[in-house]
């Protein structure tokens, strides 16, 4: 390995171990340009909803939140 490749590999491993130590790298799911997985779930009125059923004329928005309770 050249010096540059060795240094970059070391930096990458260092960054990875720091991330593992803190375990705090936020996971953000599918990237811009990627499709999201289809899903099926009941809403608050007991109606079954899927990606298709919540889709609007111009697209849709999905908001993931932690809890409606606490």
């Amino acid at each position: 390995m050249t010096n540059v490749t060795y240094m970059r590999k070391k930096c990458w491993l260092f960054a990875l171990s720091i991330a593992a130590l803190y375990g705090q790298t936020v996971k953000t799911g599918p990237d811009v340009g990627q499709p999201v997985p289809d899903f099926s779930a009941q809403d608050q009125e007991g109606r079954q909803q899927t990606l298709k059923s919540i889709m609007g004329v111009k697209g849709t928005m999905l908001v993931f939140f932690r809890s409606a309770d606490w």
């Binding site: 599918p30 990237d31 811009v32 999201v36 899903f39 608050q44 909803q49 849709t60 309770d69």
Partner: protein, 258 residues
Amino acid sequence: MAAISYDSVAVLKNFADRQHITYSLLSDPESKIIHAFDILNETVPKGTAQYGIPYPGTFILDTQGKVIAKYFEDDYRERISASDILVRQFGKSVDVQGDVVETKHLRLATGASTPTARPGHRIVLSLEIDLKPKMHVYSPGVQGYIPIEWKLEAGTLAKLHAFEYPPSHQMRLKAINETVPVYQGHLRINREITFGPENALKPLVSSSGELILKGSLQYQACDDKKCFIPQTVPLEWRFHFEGLDRERTPADLQRKPR
């Protein structure tokens, strides 16, 4: 649109009724959807009632189900506001009007994407500058003149985000053989702030429930003949403070560890 959480249908119904929410709140109690999207927060200890929550965030999708934009924060206590998405993603104008201040050289109008300050919310502030006839001011990067500078005294009230001044145009000052970057006529600057946590905001709220963010615009104006003394104009953005919703669902609906 839809919102998704690991809450039961009963918890979501209780919340929707209390908050008068008409859009769909989807129940994902086994976190299957959260898992399929790969946003399960695995730093939460298993066996607790909180295990199963996602990293909170928003996806904007096209009609094919492809992601066109996404908003996630490093800190779960911070969240982009709906008003910010409407402005920066969908081009809505920043339309909550504040004060208009006038000087000899220009008129300033403050604005915000929302009239409400909520802990952790990221919103958009605007400053509109209307220069009087024949007046120009200088853009950042100019040499030898004081450029415009929009300052905010955020303190613990808010986090300030990096922002850009609009593009300027080059003006030729024939008399002194100089070309300088200037603004003339009308310009508008938008910038984002994220309100601090509730315990930082509460002490700053007035007895009438108002939260004030102070700032200023520094500028040096010149007309076609001479330059004027640099000015600093004090400005204010006023909000109505709304604290976090701490109301819980009835105890019998609350999630138990699984």
